[in-house]
């Protein structure tokens, strides 16, 4: 067990071919790290500080406007607090590339999602325009959150590509491509095929898949209804603004009631205006839920990987069983299964002893290789299940903590809204009393 306390660049510098042993090591190391409290986030302040618009040529050589985000990093060190942070600009597509790389490289990790590419579940006041400053701002926060999630993940925080993403401007893209991760990516077709045909997946993964589907459905619905509720609430508050206007006009023609009406009108205006802040806060809550909505994709990805490895194991095991049977048939001379060879030998005569011997040798070799393959696949599958399940437990705890907090903050928001309402209407009541 390596008790390494230096920056964790081990095993991943430009090389992503992790053997299972190395993987094991990583897990052990990072567990040590957790105990020591030295995840990257602890050592480094990371923030996505700003967003800016740029123009440039895209892949088909057309002018486009895109947004770039400023990533600032600074070592967490009492002495360096005065020092300006290092910074570089990245666009959303680069974040996507990073995430894809992480997904492929660490298939057993539930990788944090990115914020929405396009604003999808919105209520009417928020525009669905990617250029809208509110949307860009919320995306900035989401990207920062993503980086924090990765930087505090026991496994991912050690990844060199991630580190360079944060710290080096030039040639990062080339480096990512050089890792060859794209070749390692499992094809979607393969994964779907495996999902259908796998016979004995680990029950926990099947359950997890169901859970992630349920969570996705439930959260989508919840977010949609919440957006509609927000819309309606906006309407209620804003219409009260009309009271402000009419009271003000009416106060001009009244003598005794004038003052009371005028000031009541101001409170109605304040009431109408207060909804903007209320709903902006709620949007933050919705973003927290959205993160977990998008997390369900990552959960499903891990389940798919399990199904794939399990399926490959089953295929290899099946192949081995087949070969074993073939050998048996060859040795005993019985033909239990139909084979072309069997038929032709029946028709055209038995093979010679030499021919049989040669075949047997080949089969023996194949059997050896097959057994190796099965052993390997078994280890691979077991490793995967083990490491994946560690991360899934970590994710579950994180989810429970985060969502508990989110629900509490939602209650706090509602309380704040009620208090504002009480204040406004108490004030209005005072004014009406003076009428």
């Amino acid at each position: 067990m390596m008790a390494d306390s230096g920056p964790k660049e081990v095993a991943v510098i430009g090389n992503t071919e992790l053997t299972s042993a190395e993987l094991d090591n990583n897990i052990i190391n990072t567990m040590v790290e957790i105990e020591k409290g030295t995840s990257l986030l602890r050592k480094m302040e990371i923030s996505v500080a700003e967003a800016e618009k740029r123009t440039g040529k895209n892949t088909v050589n057309m002018q486009e406007i895109y947004t770039v985000y400023l990533i600032e990093t600074r070592p967490v060190d009492a002495l360096t607090e005065g020092i300006t942070p290092d910074s570089l600009w990245r666009r959303y597509s680069e974040f996507e590339l990073l995430r894809n790389y992480l997904l492929v490289t660490y298939p057993f990790v539930v990788v944090a999602p990115l914020p929405e590419k396009r604003a999808e579940i919105v209520w009417h006041k928020l525009s669905a325009d990617n250029m809208d400053p509110d949307f860009v701002e919320r995306r900035r926060v989401g990207l920062e959150n993503f980086l924090h999630r990765v930087a505090s993940h026991p496994v991912l925080c050690n990844d060199n590509i991630f580190y360079i993403f944060l710290t080096e401007d030039k040639d990062w893209k080339e480096m990512v491509y050089e890792t060859g991760f794209q070749a390692k990516a499992d094809s979607r077709l393969k994964a779907v095929n495996a999902a259908f045909r796998v016979k004995n997946p680990d029950g926990r993964f099947t359950e997890l898949k169901h859970y992630s589907d349920e969570l996705q459905t439930v959260l989508s619905q919840l977010l949609r209804v919440r957006a509609r509720v927000a819309d309606r609430l906006y309407g209620v508050y804003k219409v009260h603004g009309n009271y402000g206007r009419v009271f003000s006009e009416w106060s001009a023609i009244e003598k005794e009631m004038g003052d009371g009406l005028q000031s009541a009108g101001h409170h109605m205006d304040a009431y109408a205006a207060s909804v903007d802040d209320i709903l902006e806060e709620e949007e933050h809550y919705a973003d927290q839920l959205k993160e977990y909505l998008f997390y369900t994709d990552a959960l499903r990805a891990v389940c798919r990987k399990h199904e794939l490895t399990q399926f490959e194991l089953e295929m290899v095991a099946l192949d081995l069983a087949c070969k074993k049977q073939q050998k048996e048939e060859l040795v005993t001379g019985t033909v239990r299964t139909f084979s072309l060879k069997g038929m032709t030998s029946k028709l055209f005569g038995q093979e010679t002893a030499e021919q049989r011997e040669a075949k047997l040798q080949v089969l023996e070799q194949q059997l050896k290789e097959g057994e190796e393959a099965v052993k390997e696949k078994n280890t691979e599958t077991d490793e995967f299940v083990k490491t994946a399940w560690v991360d899934i437990e970590r994710f579950k705890d994180q989810k429970d903590r985060d969502l508990k907090e989110a629900l509490i903050s939602y209650a706090v928001m509602q309380i704040s809204m009620c208090k504002k309402g009480i204040q406004v209407w108490t004030n209005a009541k005072e004014c009406f009393n003076k009428m």
């Binding site: 309606r232 219409v239 009631m257 309380i415 208090k419 009428m435």
Partner: protein, 467 residues
Amino acid sequence: MSRTIDAVVSPTQTNTIPADISGQMLDLDEDDDLEVFSKDLTLADGNMFNASMPTSPGSMVNQCKFEEDEESDSKDIFITVDNPESHVTAIETFITYRVLTKTTRSEFDNSEYEVRRRYQDFLWLKGKLEDAHSTLIVHPLPEKFVVKGMVERFNGDFIETRRKALHKFLNRVADHPILSCSEDFKVFLSAQAWELTTYKKQGPGFLSRMGETVRAVANSVRGVKNRPEEFTAIQEYVEDFSNKIGSLDKVTQRIVKEQKEYLEELKEYGPTYTLWSGSEEELAEQLKGVAGCIERCCKETEEQVGHLSDTLVPVLHEYVLCAETLKAVLRRRDNIQAEFEAKNEALATKKVDRDAESSDLGFVWGSLLGKNPEEARHQRQERLDGEIEELKEEIDKLEDRVEWANNALKGDWGRWQRSMRGDLKSAFLSTAEKNVDYYEKCLAVWETFLLSQRTEPSEETDRDNTP
């Protein structure tokens, strides 16, 4: 017969009548009221005042106290409208309301009356009151037809809204120092159904009503020339008020609509948390808690909308109708003045006529009739003099009428403004109070939830603990 017209608000006449005479006036009520029906309607306004007792000490006290609680000591008549019932006949179906009156007023034979009245009867009463007092402000009745929002006449909400408005109408009439003395009002409250029908049939026929309407139209076409400044000011105010109250009515109805739609969505929101709790272990309790909070807030929202619909909406609507009433009252006052002005103009013309040295005309006229010119002229002079005298008498009466109408309106105007302020202030106050109450209740719901969360062993305080 001319009586001293005593009006509380008349600036030129005495304001008080000794109690013993006021008693006499009370006794004469009945006779005078009956007279109203047989006389020419143009003088009805003036005569009506003879039958009133606006200056008895009791009513003076009432006048001073009308802005206070209706349970003031001097209130001597209590009316309730309740118990709507449906009646089905071969021809139609209609609703009657029970009208219960308790009174100590001496012009009533009994101290308690219970009768059933339908909407038509209320319409009749209002019409009679307005005919008799064209420049007093009569509180509006709920509308005849439903404008929007509801489909049936017999819908429960509609009937209840109408009942409340009818109740308010009768109580406003009862509170009015002049209107409450109306014989029609008394009959309305006390007569049995068949008695009322008979009573309604008396009174000026269709044709004389037509005459009044035609004259009114003619006057309004002519227009008033020298409207006193204060009435112009009132008219401008009424225009503005009408706009503002109309806007408020619309805004409030819009708020109700938005609030109802908000409630609909909110009702679907809570269940999504319950659904979610079904998939979770650690979070299940908390999610169900949130769902429960949202549900309770739904109930509070429903109550709040109900209150808005029951309290603020009807009052604003009433005052929209009031604004129309005020416009009509101002028009009628203008018409009375216009008629007076017209007659004055006629008099002036006649005088010019008489004074004109139109001997030629006289000669021609006379010679045609075979008279001598001197006689003809003399006759003509006499004729014109007679006509001028008649006109002068009519003008005197009309002048009185204008004066009386103006004073009635001025007095009632102050009264109406105070009522309006009281009604609207109380309605807005009630709304604000209900809204505070609504937010306080919702606050309690969420605070209770938060408390339940914080007393549990909190897992979120130490995020760095390994699970």
